[in-house]
Amino acid sequence: MKRARRGFLMRFALLSVLGMLISMPFFWMLSSSFKPRVEAENADILPEQPTVQNYPVVLDLKPDPSTRRFLGMRYGRWYFNTFFVAVGITFLQVLTSSMAAYAFSRMRWRGRDTVFILYLSTMMIPGVVTMIPNFQVMVWLGFVNTYHGLIIPAAFSAFGTFLLRQFMLSVPPALDEAAQIDGASHWQIFWEVIMPLARPGLIALAILTFLGSYQSFFWPLVMLNSQDLFSMPLGLLTLDSSYGRQTEMIMAAAAMATAPLIVIFVIFQKFVVKGLQLGGVKG
């Protein structure tokens, strides 16, 4: 009994230390967001003279106290853009991935597994390699500097298809057979039988996709030219210029940008873990 208790305490202590280490950058970000500029480079964890003024400055409600100029950041707009693009990408990716996953897991057709492997192999190609050709396609389609240029290319995902296929494979085939005997079409089986049963997988994919597109940086950077289309990560870039890095402002903006992600993660963490297990273990 004593031994078990000691083991528990040791595990608890170890996990507490690890937890603190992991949360330290987040805590530092939060604390720096309350520092005045003169303290921004201090390694001290807590601000000596805490201030909340960085937040209204980032939101463009007040001018920067040191330069007496408004930063001109469109924080609200960037927040909205990030959220709306993430919703669009999540919706389309979950829809297309689930349809593809259904075709790869429940329908029998010639070359199915070969096509699936080919589709899956696209995950092996690093994004930077295909960056210029993909961008060229966007130019031809006239999608540069538009919202749909961000949404449509991200609407299809080999990872999402793989994740949902694995989930759908775990649904007993007898269910579709029973539905088929009752005269259900593939369309009906997909919506009425498989999709409700694949709900945990769908939620996991939706959360992973939402989180991924919320923090996406490079593709929006290349695609967008107008500041009113910018997403949050691009907006943060505007605080790093030849006038210097406004660390305390970046941290205030980052703290506000991170908040929704943390809420989403805390609420849906069970599904996120499930999704990671599905994608990582089942091959």
């Binding site: 530092w28 720096s32 500029r37 003169v38 303290e39 921004a40 480079e41 201090n42 390694a43 920067d64 040191s66 330069t67 100029r69 930063l71 001109g72 909205f80 853009n81 959220f83 709306f84 919703v87 669009g88 919706f91 829809l95 960056m131 210029i132 961008f135 060229q136 130019v139 540069v144 919202y147 919506w191 009425e192 999709m195 409700p196 709900r199 490079f218 950077l221 290349v222 030219n225 107008s226 500041q227 009113d228 289309l229 870039l237 505007t238 605080l239 790093d240 210029s241 030849s242 006038y243 210097g244 890095r245 660390t247």
Partner: protein, 457 residues
């Protein structure tokens, strides 16, 4: 499930409509929009507004794009119209990649030729005699120091003619003499290792290349000595923070721009920097009245000199609004633009007529003309870094950064670092010349000798 998907689709469509309807950037008839790729400096908004006042039919959209974005967009012919290049290396690369337009004739006709700016910086605007950019600002470094910290340690201010030895001695005294306030101070804030080293290199008479750019001069005694001085300042004299010390003190995961903030927060006594520091200084009101400036210390018997450069704008060769982009470059040479640079303290204006004396440059934060005069003198005495037509300067800089890191961390001696760097540069030049007939033709042109495979022997 269908209803859930339907609901999300409806939400998405509503958000999409709201996003499109509330966009504030809409095409306006009769207005041509050009894109200026630069950093997202708040001063740009003011500079753009002044341009729009002068040219009401041209709208300038600020594009705070990174280099990667520029490369991807220019590769597909959709890059920005006006491109800021922060140093000569960038320009040389863009010229080699066919990204920027040759401005020589247009600039001469429109009043923004190299003759319209400081003689010292002209070379930084050209490649093989052709002009590809015009300055947004021009600068060379001096030493900005905090008078209060010098007083606190009882150290006399640097004089106009100070030497490297006097500079080291001042740093040592700041380090060794207890201050009246009881505070400890860093003698010199190193915010950019490469630029600090390059100032030592130029100040010591060193250069990058010799023999028409066919050989590296980075293993010359001057260059090795410059690296030795850099190492000694850090590890023998301890007046410059080591990377480990900087990481321990700063919160930004290293020195970098953090060094500037350390100087601004009055933790460091001196900094090698340009007049553009005055753009940031107002963020630290306690500094007002405390800043002094001195020329870079003289090394040996040489006059004070350092690296001179410009953030300068060029035009995308594939710009669909070339005439409007040219107007923008013309604007950079005007007094309207130059006065904004003077007021903000953003280095020196491109038009030298606006920066004849320190008196012309005084601004709200530093009213002492002597402070500003230092930077005019620094630009006039400055030198542009030489380059070779046979190797990408960006590549050389990357290797130099690696060597500086190795010396800073005492993993290579200064001599070994510079010799290995020169060897790597020479081998690359040799390899490129061997492979590329266009470079062989260039070799013939610049050296006047026919290319032979054993040319380097």
């Amino acid at each position: 499930m269908k209803y859930l998907f339907g609901g999300v689709l409806a939400l998405f469509l509503i958000l999409y409509s709201v996003a499109l309807l509330t966009r504030d950037h809409k095409e306006q008839p009769g207005i041509t929009s050009i894109r200026w790729c630069t950093d997202a400096n708040p001063a740009r908004t003011v500079q753009i507004a002044a341009f729009t006042r002068l040219n009401p039919t041209i709208e300038v959209v600020l594009d705070p794009g990174a280099r990667q974005k520029l490369i991807v967009q220019c590769a597909t012919g959709t890059g920005p119209d006006v491109i800021d290049m922060f140093n000569r290396e960038e320009m040389v690369d863009y010229v080699a990649s066919g990204i920027v337009l040759d401005l020589t004739e247009i600039a001469r006709a429109k009043g923004f030729a190299t003759e319209n700016t400081y003689p010292a910086v002209r070379e930084a605007l050209t490649v093989e005699g052709r002009q590809y950019r015009f300055p947004c600002n021009v600068g060379a470094y001096g030493v900005i120091y905090n008078r209060a910290i010098f007083d606190d340690h009882g150290v006399p201010y640097p004089d106009e003619n100070w030497t490297y030895e006097q500079f080291v001695a001042a740093g040592r005294r700041i380090l060794d003499t207890p201050s009246k306030s009881g505070e400890k101070h860093i003698p010199v804030a190193n915010w950019n290792s490469r630029l600090f080293f390059l100032d030592l290199l130029v100040g010591n008479g060193g250069q990058f290349f010799q023999d028409h750019g066919t050989r590296s001069a980075l293993d010359s005694p001057e260059a090795i000595e410059a690296m030795r001085m850099y190492h000694a300042l850090m590890h023998e004299e301890h007046v410059l923070t080591t990377p480990a010390e900087a990481s321990a003190m700063g919160s930004q995961g290293g020195w970098g721009a953090g060094g500037i903030n350390w100087f601004s927060a009055e933790r460091a006594a001196m900094i090698f920097i340009g007049r553009w520091y005055l753009c940031q200084a107002p963020g630290y009101p306690a500094l007002k009245g405390k800043l002094g400036a001195a020329r870079l210390p003289r090394i040996g018997n040489r006059a004070s000199t350092g690296l001179c450069g410009a953030r300068a704008a060029g035009i995308n060769i594939k710009s669909r609004h070339r005439a409007e982009a040219v107007k923008f470059l013309q604007y950079l040479a005007t007094s309207e633009y130059g006065e904004l640079i003077v007021r903000d303290g953003d280095s020196l204006p491109p038009n030298p007529a606006l920066a004849q004396t320190g008196n012309a440059l005084t601004n709200a934060f530093v009213g002492d003309p002597a402070f500003h005069q230092i930077f005019i003198d620094a630009v006039n005495a400055g030198r542009v870094l030489d380059s070779s037509p046979f190797i990408s300067p960006t590549q050389v800089m990357r290797w130099l950064d690696e060597r500086i890191g190795l010396v800073e961390n005492q993993r290579l001696t200064p001599e070994a670092a510079m010799r290995s760097l020169a060897k790597e540069v020479n081998e690359t030049i040799r390899g490129s010349l061997e492979r590329r007939p266009d470079l062989q033709r260039k070799y013939q042109k610049v050296t006047g000798n026919a290319y032979r495979s054993d040319w380097w022997k």
